[in-house]
């Protein structure tokens, strides 16, 4: 019944002889590259990032108290077990950098875009396997540099992940702004190069390598999300590169792009005429779209997972696509809402308030569409589904407080307080993490041909969910009480003494949340080797990746590539016995597509 396209003989027919190096290290196969991103980006960097957050939380909960763990992990940066103030800021900076860029950008997009774009589109591989390999190895170099920077003599970069100059430009202002910051900038230059190559590859693949019948409006929403993410990346990352390069010039070659009139440690510096506000504009021109680079893949994954596991078509497929596009467009014209109180012209503040609050509309459409998808479904509570529902929940909770932060008048008083920390962790940190975990549970059978243990998955989800709310819900209130973020200790003003016990509670939840990730790690690695063998299509999904060869072969499908005849969400369609109709099944006579 299914028709298949002729196998492209010139390109892939003769099977290359693979050595260990070409198969596992310098691999050009998208599935292997996805796993490489997964292990470097998500697992390796993720563990470092989470560990850093726990160290920070312990410092905030029990400030300046000697602590064996600090003594053990931080060594000379925690003399007698008391954390040094500079190293606290370094932890803040590196946690942010690692989580935003390495885990949730490269880790999330790198893993799932690579794995799914060719498989769900019915392509043999990415448009350029070679570029894909280069992108991964540039990312690897960037990872190595970033990790090395943690170990330099004066400490890693400590100016916040936003590295605003002059703090990040002057070693006199902060020891971390010496070699640590240089390595940070060079690492990020590699990272951006990697991200651009990767994104170009995704865009070209989506536009050119769709199988016969896979029109743009038959693409799964995951692919739409990855595609749009790649476009935002290509538009905005070069701006960060230029900002980083100009900052390198200011630091090393004496230019004054961002610096002016500075008197520090008894001397006047030569800088004249530059403006830190210019850097802020350049940074946030990437920085805000970056939030959506992190979030959109999670939105895509959630759409796919929710539809599959509720055995129901995603509600409003076209509206979902339009809202992804609207969010992407708006995301590039709202960066100023990070800068309401930087001395930017107040009129600009008004414009950015307007554009920012507009984003709530497509976001609301998405949230309601998810909820309607659940309505009258036949929901199968597999672990990925739990995480997808959790995603919608935190996306709503975190997104709503954006109405406060996006409103310039209200931002005056909560700007740079813990309210902001709570908001963005929920809406982009936890949400993106949930999206990523949903994806991992859902596509684990594709990645390794095995199933993950569902009971461990349940434990993992519920403890994570309770911890996430336990950490970030009370944090909003600390912020509203006026507690600034990035403070090494809050015990210096009695004004904040009544927040101390809340901070301890938050830290407990944080430790619990971090600990339960070990269950996931165990489940993942154990299942990789000893998991139960997965059936061809365990979730009874309609998309093409479940028709591909389970054994990983170069070219994905043995024989012909399936041809696509329908949209990807034919779940529980009347007139069919099974509650799903895969995309490669032709329409019956007289059957409407949707």
């Amino acid at each position: 019944m299914a028709e298949y396209i002729e196998f492209d003989k010139d390109h892939h027919a003769h099977h290359h002889k693979e050595t260990f190096i070409t198969k596992y290290i310098f691999s050009q196969d998208h599935k292997m590259i996805a796993k490489q991103y997964l292990f470097t980006g998500v697992f390796f960097m993720g563990i470092i990032g989470i560990l850093m957050s726990i160290l920070m939380r312990m410092q905030i909960a029990w400030p300046e108290e000697p602590n064996l763990i600090f003594d053990f992990l931080l060594g000379k940066w925690a003399p007698e077990g008391v954390m040094d103030a500079d190293i606290y800021l370094a932890l803040v900076t590196m946690h942010g950098t690692i989580m935003v860029f390495f885990v949730l950008t490269a880790g999330l997009s790198g893993t799932f875009s690579n794995l799914l774009i060719p498989l769900q589109l019915g392509a043999r591989d990415m448009a350029s396997g070679f570029l894909n390999m280069v992108a991964y190895w540039l990312f690897f170099v960037s990872t190595v540099l970033m990790v090395i920077s943690i170990f330099v003599e004066a400490g890693p970069a400590a100016a916040g992940w936003t590295i605003y100059p002059p703090l990040s430009a002057l070693e006199l202002a902060q020891p971390g702004s010496g070699l640590g910051m240089t390595l940070w900038l060079v690492s990020m230059a590699f990272f951006i190069a990697s991200s651009l190559l990767g994104s170009l590859n995704y865009i070209v693949t989506v536009l050119n390598l769709r199988t016969k019948g896979m029109s743009l409006t038959r693409m799964p929403l995951t692919i739409w999300a990855f595609f749009v993410t790649a476009i935002i990346g290509v538009i905005s990352f070069p701006v960060l590169l230029s900002a980083a390069l100009l900052l390198i010039m200011d630091r090393s070659f004496g230019t004054s792009f961002f610096l002016s009139d500075i008197f520090i440690q008894g001397e006047v510096l030569h800088y004249q005429g530059g403006s830190p506000v210019l850097f802020e504009h350049l940074f946030w021109f990437l920085g805000h779209p970056e939030v959506y680079i992190v979030l959109l893949p999670a939105l895509g994954i959630a759409s796919e997972v929710i539809s599959t596991h509720s055995r129901k078509p995603i509600f409003g497929y076209k509206a979902m696509i339009i809202s992804i596009l609207a969010i992407a467009f708006l995301s590039t014209i709202v960066w100023g809402h990070h800068m309401f109180v930087t001395g930017m012209n107040p009129f600009l503040g008004s414009v950015f308030t307007f554009t920012t609050l507009l984003i709530a509309i497509p976001s609301a459409v998405k949230a309601f569409n998810y909820i309607t998808t659940l309505w009258k479904g036949n929901i199968q509570f597999n672990p990925p589904m739990l995480f997808a529902i959790g995603f919608v929940s935190t996306f709503i909770t975190g997104g709503l407080t954006g109405i406060i932060l996006g409103d310039s008048a209200l931002d005056i008083n909560v700007h740079d307080t813990y309210f902001v920390v709570a908001h963005f962790h929920l809406v982009m940190g936890i949400s993106a993490l949930y999206g990523m975990l949903a994806g991992m549970y859902h596509w684990f059978p594709i990645m390794f041909g095995k199933m993950m243990n569902k009971n461990l998955g349940y434990i993992h989800f519920w403890v994570t969910a309770i911890s996430a709310y336990g950490v970030f819900f009370p944090m909003h209130f600390i912020g509203m009480a006026g507690l600034p973020r990035r403070y090494y200790t809050n015990s210096n003003f009695p004004l904040f003494d009544d927040l101390a016990d809340t901070n301890q509670i938050i830290t407990m939840f944080a430790i619990m949340g971090a600990a339960v990730q070990l269950v996931f790690l165990y489940n993942f690695i154990y299942s990789m080797f000893y998991g139960k063998k997965a059936p061809q299509n365990p979730w009874k999904s309609t998309t093409l990746e479940w028709t591909a060869s389970q054994k990983h072969i170069h070219g994905n499908w043995q024989g012909k590539i399936p041809e696509v005849h329908r949209w990807p969400y034919d779940y529980s369609k009347p007139g069919y016995k099974e509650d799903f109709v895969p995309q490669h099944i032709p329409l019956k006579k007289g059957e409407e597509e949707y």
Partner: protein, 361 residues
């Protein structure tokens, strides 16, 4: 309270580990017997997880109520000490009400649907792809509500940021450096003398780089405490000598960055004196609470043979709110709002800039 939470959380962890071990044991024990080990959710899982979904909804509501009751007394959304502060607070409360309503309803729908439509083996979902009316509805309603909030917000913002609304504000410069604040008053002429960090001369005690040759600078007054007369509009002019700082005065709903190389501005009118704020019932409660905490801590310190903590008395603070280096967390300045006469008598005791310079040969 905290100990209770520690215990509670440790219990959670223990239960989690215990459950895990149990599962492993079970799976090992029954490996010979034919059971559903497909790792795909079956009806039993669906039932359990659906119940947990409802439980989690209850958890979200519980933590919301708990937070509102326990932490609701923290927020700075009441007792603003400045004129525009009340406007911001009203806007904040309306926004919070909106958020609260939407949050309560949408989370309910999400988790309730998850519970209600849990999968059963022989059930079939409804094939329902689209409904333009519904989608139009939840595009237009948020759009209308947001238009209202955007308009309200923008009106407030343009009013707050309008530095020209008062004809004759008192001009005060806030000067930031790693890691302290200085205030410079413009003096009788109410015009600040010109300044630039290149003019800083530590030997002559010209620490702010004020231009001595500028006639307006002679009567400027530099202080390390910020005194403000009540009900008099103040225009703050902000500078920084080294890195970015941010002048955050939470009680006055005021914040603006201090940027090296440029001058930023913020204006407000303080309406409540420090003394009046100390008499405010909710502030009295807060201070008593803090002092109880400090007393407990002092007892702890005493057992270690350390100095006890001073009792706390409320004061307005100016905090640094932009990461600025090692002692960022301790960069503060006391703000004192007082009646005009007290302010005048304090002000007259200060040395003017001209006389504060050390003469050099």
């Amino acid at each position: 309270m905290t100990t209770l939470f520690i215990v509670l959380i440790l219990t959670f962890i223990t239960i989690a580990i215990w459950q895990m071990i149990k599962i492993f044991d079970l799976s090992r024990a029954i490996s010979g017997i034919k059971v559903d080990d497909s790792q795909i959710a079956n009806d039993k899982d669906n039932k359990t997880q659906a119940k947990l979904m409802l439980g989690f909804l209850a958890f979200i509501y519980a933590i919301t109520i708990f937070s509102l009751v326990k932490y609701g007394k923290f927020p700075l959304i009441s007792n603003a000490a400045s004129e525009h502060g009340e406007q911001i607070d009203t806007l904040m409360i309306w926004t919070m009400v909106l958020i609260f309503i939407v949050q309560t309803i949408t989370q309910f729908l999400l988790y309730y649907f998850a519970y209600k439509y849990k999968g059963k083996k022989n059930n079939r979902a409804l094939f329902y792809t689209d409904n333009h009316k519904l989608e139009l509805l939840w595009t237009i309603i948020p759009a209308i509500v947001l238009t209202g909030f955007i308009t309200y917000g923008l009106l407030t913002w343009s009013d707050v940021m309008n530095m020209q609304k008062n004809d004759d504000p008192m001009i005060v410069e806030l000067y930031a450096q790693q890691f302290n604040w200085k205030a410079r008053y413009a003096g009788k002429d109410n015009v600040l003398g010109k300044s630039n960090v290149r003019l800083i001369d530590i030997d002559r005690a010209n620490i702010l780089g004020v231009d001595e040759s500028d006639v307006y600078s002679a009567d400027d007054v530099i202080t390390t405490e910020l005194h403000l007369p009540v009900n008099r509009p103040v225009l703050f002019v902000m500078r920084s000598q080294d890195v970015l700082h941010s002048a955050y005065m939470p009680h006055f709903r005021a914040q603006m960055n201090c940027v090296p190389g440029m001058v930023t501005k913020f204006a407000f009118t303080p309406t409540v004196t420090t003394e009046e704020m100390r008499q405010n019932p909710s502030m009295i409660d807060k201070v008593i609470n803090i002092n109880n905490i400090r007393e407990d801590k002092s007892k702890e310190l005493a057992t270690k043979g350390e100095e006890p903590l001073d009792p706390y008395e409320f004061d307005y603070l100016l905090l640094c709110n932009k990461i600025c280096g090692k002692s960022h967390y301790n960069m503060q300045m006391k703000i004192i709002v007082e009646p005009e006469e007290e302010f005048e008598s304090w002000y007259n005791q200060q040395t003017v800039f001209k006389n504060s310079l050390i003469a050099q040969n």
